[in-house]
């Protein structure tokens, strides 16, 4: 065994990111590491590369215990990492990047010719027609990634960790990368491969380990791991167990509604293939799928974060312009993004200021929202959403995750949007707040607000959604209505190689 990890544990305040995880990597294998957001993949990688210090557990490389304290140390031990965002310098030449820190020198000066030679030698096994004298930045991301891999292999040479290397590559480039990976595997490297694309996992990985909620669920040869089972492991659902109670879908048939919003052929290349979507007044549409399958991408296209390149949007009063978030807000849209820490709240501003933010933005800077009105708004939503804060002037950054999320929701509710997109509204918040947010969704839809909710928690979708749309590989592949909305149907639709499983009857 090249690398063994035994009962690795890492806790952060409030969460156990890794809970006694075991992991083995053989020399000469590609080992896929799978799991949804928050499963613990990146924590595991960071413990391996020295970015984090583990709390408990043991790491053995080639039988010897290791505890890397920095990326450099991990590198020196033989563990190299290549991230999705290439961590090389585009303004230096390929040769300089490859030999960085170890440039051959003569009399204190860099020996250009020797450096070029070394770089060409390093790249020789990769089948790249690259002029090492040119700037790295003049090559495509795929080439940059391969250069990064070549550098990592040259520096480390035992374990290679590839963190979502294919996220920004096209099919041809991915194939090129896989050839390189297989070549390195045959040279005896152990490769840890992280990807959200299950097809790729089956194509290139020998074994796969699934993490969920900081625990290792399973490690299995990919050849013996059925796709459906794999997805169940990732999402945490056994087919037998069904959750339909509390569902509201029977209540409303999807009758055509002239007050609905219609999106026809909405899509954007590289994000999400064109899709049709109609949402009625007061309807809750759920969006299910694996991470990276097109959930958030759908939301971003709808909200104009990455404006659609094709298709039209139509409201009862006429066509809508959704070219950017401002336009979307003007059209009465709201969007609570997945990562509220970076995209949602302004941590240093108070609860009151955060709630008033969007409303103020709509009024324009010349017409400040009166302080009394702000106070009234803040008090109203603190009560209505049960935001746990000592007072409205407390900085949002000091609140717990669930309460931060409620502040984000309050900000949008204050705008009274007609269409509200919630991306993982319950991620990382406690059970009580979880239930309250679901209750809130019910409540606002009664007033006619339409909601698109994205979630990895299938029970949540089953409980709250009137319809569930399933995305896979950046496509809307299925729509479930009525009694079809059940966790097992959703899982099947996510897994199905072709979209028959849950097509609306």
């Amino acid at each position: 065994m090249l690398l063994t990890i035994r009962s690795l544990t890492k806790t952060f305040p409030g969460t156990r990111a890794l809970d006694a995880v075991d992991f083995d990597l053989r020399a000469g294998e590609v080992h896929a590491l799978l799991g949804e957001n928050g499963a613990g993949k990146s924590t595991l990688i960071k413990c391996l590369t020295g970015a984090y210090q583990r709390d408990e557990g043991e790491l053995h490389l080639d039988g010897a215990p290791i505890s890397p304290a920095s990326t450099q140390e991990a590198q020196a031990l033989g563990i190299g990492t290549v991230y999705q965002e290439v961590n090389l310098l585009p303004n230096l030449s390929v040769a300089e990047n490859l030999t960085f820190g170890r440039q051959p020198t003569r009399f204190g000066m860099i020996d250009q010719r020797a450096m070029r030679h070394q770089a060409e030698e390093l790249l020789s096994g990769y089948g790249l027609g690259v002029d090492v004298r040119r700037d790295l930045g003049s090559y495509s991301v795929a080439v940059q990634q391969l250069v990064a891999i070549a550098r990592a292999v040259a520096l480390s040479g035992k374990v290679l960790i590839l963190d979502e290397p294919t996220a920004s590559l096209d099919a041809r480039e991915t194939a090129m990368l896989f050839d390189v990976m297989r070549g390195l595997r045959d040279r005896g490297l152990g490769i840890v491969f992280i990807s959200h694309f299950l097809d790729q996992v089956y194509e290139v990985a020998d074994r796969a380990t699934v993490l969920r909620n900081g625990q290792r669920i399973v490690t299995e040869e990919t050849a013996r791991l059925d796709r459906l089972r794999l997805i169940e492991h990732m999402l945490g659902h056994e087919l037998e167990e069904q959750t339909t109670e509390g569902a509201r879908h029977a209540a409303q048939p999807a009758a055509p509604d002239e007050r609905a919003l219609h999106f026809d052929g909405f899509g954007r290349r590289g994000k999400i293939e064109p899709f049709d979507l109609s949402i009625g007044r007061g309807e809750v549409v759920g969006l299910a799928g694996l991470l990276g399958a097109g959930r958030t991408e759908t939301a971003e296209v709808l909200f104009g974060v990455h404006p659609a390149q094709s298709g039209t949007a139509r409201a009862p009063e006429g066509p809508l312009d959704l070219g950017n978030p401002r336009a979307a807000i003007a059209a009465g849209f709201g969007f609570a993004p997945e990562d509220r820490k970076t995209d949602g709240i302004v941590a240093d501003l108070s609860v009151r200021e955060n709630i008033a933010l969007a409303l103020q933005a709509r009024r324009g800077w010349a017409r400040p929202l009166p302080r009394a009105e702000q106070n009234r708004l803040a008090e109203h939503y603190i009560q209505r959403l049960d935001i746990r804060t000592s007072d409205a002037e407390k900085a949002v950054g000091d609140l717990s995750g669930g309460n931060q999320q409620k502040v984000v929701l309050a900000r949008w509710l204050a705008m009274n949007p007609r269409f509200f997109i919630l991306d993982e509204p319950t991620r990382g918040i406690d059970v009580g707040a979880h239930a309250e947010i679901l209750r809130l969704i019910e409540e606002v839809t009664e007033d006619g607000m339409s909601i698109l909710v994205i979630s990895s928690e299938l029970e949540e979708l089953v409980a709250v959604a009137d319809r569930v749309i399933v995305v896979r590989d950046r496509r809307h592949v299925a729509e479930l209505t009525g009694t079809e909305i059940a966790t097992d149907r959703i899982v099947r639709a996510i897994a199905a190689p072709d979209a028959k499983a849950g097509e609306a009857a």
Binding site: E96, G101, M109, I110, D135, G137, S138, S140
Partner: protein, 325 residues
């Protein structure tokens, strides 16, 4: 020709074109006398601009150099007046002080994670104030060794004088070129300019490199002060106000990208000479106000900023086109 070197070639082309225009109007411009004077008159600027180039390549800025040069002049003049030290000893002392001053600024920038703009702005006031503390008035230098230095020149064919200080500038540029483009330190400087976080991940000792960068700039400013004191044979604390901005302008006109990570030290020399050429043209013309120098430099700066932005756009577009294909 890569996109990286395009601004350099643009700079050289503009310089040659400008020289051609000058020559057509005043054929005397193409004499070794004019060329010799161009080097001598701009020696102090060229030297400090080499230090500035390294700083800007790393993504930083050094606003203190003008004050440091003025401080150097006063320090040398007063030391030579009040002590019996030989000028060479005074020079060594001075260079040690300015290098340490630069290193201290680099250290603060790194340790406090402060923007270089603010730290070197403080340095600018400090150095200027220190100059005043030594002397409020202009102090003449009349050391015999200075006469030797001032009269040291090589008579080029055509009676042009290649002075010692001109040679010092050319050597500085040469040294700067080797350091920036041919040493690991230089690669680290480019790496910082490309992205501090990435540079750190690739193993650059960011603190050490930052300190060395500003120490180098401090050294060059000190050397520039020595040269300026030889050039004017005096020290005056109010001298060289705004020189840091001229140096930055020369660096940018020389094709170095102001945000760091790309550029050539040689381009800076061409930038300095271009600015000097404009000045010379105005002297030859005789009727133009010297403020025209500023206007032309301003226009040139604007041109180069636009050129750089255009190139970045072009590159991005080419990149996008490639990834589509």
């Amino acid at each position: 020709m890569t996109a990286r070197s395009l601004p350099l070639f643009a700079t050289i082309a503009i310089f040659l074109l400008a020289y051609l225009v000058c020559y057509l109007q005043f054929p005397a411009m193409l004499s070794t006398r004019v060329i010799g004077n161009l080097l001598t008159d701009n020696a102090y600027l060229g030297i400090t601009a080499v230090g500035m180039t390294i700083v800007i390549l790393s993504g930083g800025i050094d606003l203190s150099v003008g004050s440091v040069i003025a401080f150097a002049g006063v320090f040398i003049a007063v030391m030579l007046r009040d002590t019996g030290l030989h000028p060479l000893v005074v020079f060594t002392l001075l260079l040690a002080i300015t290098t340490a001053f630069g290193a201290a600024m680099g250290g603060l920038i790194h340790v406090l994670a402060m923007p270089p703009f603010i730290v070197t702005l403080a340095g600018m006031f400090l150095a200027r104030g220190a100059g005043y503390m030594i002397s409020v008035d202009s102090v003449p230098i009349d050391h015999p060794f200075y006469d030797v230095l001032k009269d040291a020149y090589y008579l080029m064919p055509g009676k042009g004088r290649l002075t010692l200080i001109g040679v010092v500038m050319l050597l500085s540029v040469g040294a700067g070129m080797v350091i920036a483009h041919r040493t690991r330190f230089g690669t680290n400087v480019f790496a910082l300019g490309g992205g501090v976080q990435t540079a750190r991940l690739m193993g650059v000792d960011v603190g050490r490199t930052t300190i060395l960068i500003y120490a180098f700039s401090g050294f060059m400013a000190g050397l520039s002060g020595v040269v300026f004191s030889i050039y004017t044979a005096s020290g005056y604390p109010l001298a060289m106000v705004g020189t840091e901005l001229n140096a930055i302008a020369a660096v940018v006109i020389g094709g170095t990208i102001l945000t760091g990570g790309a550029g050539y030290v040689f381009g800076t020399l061409v930038g300095v000479l271009t600015m000097g050429l404009i000045q010379t043209y105005i002297v030859f013309d005789g009727s133009l106000s010297s403020w025209w120098t500023k206007i032309v430099i301003g226009a040139l700066l604007l041109l180069f900023i636009l050129l750089q932005k255009g190139l970045l756009r072009l590159n991005a577009r080419r990149q996008a086109a490639r990834s589509m294909a």
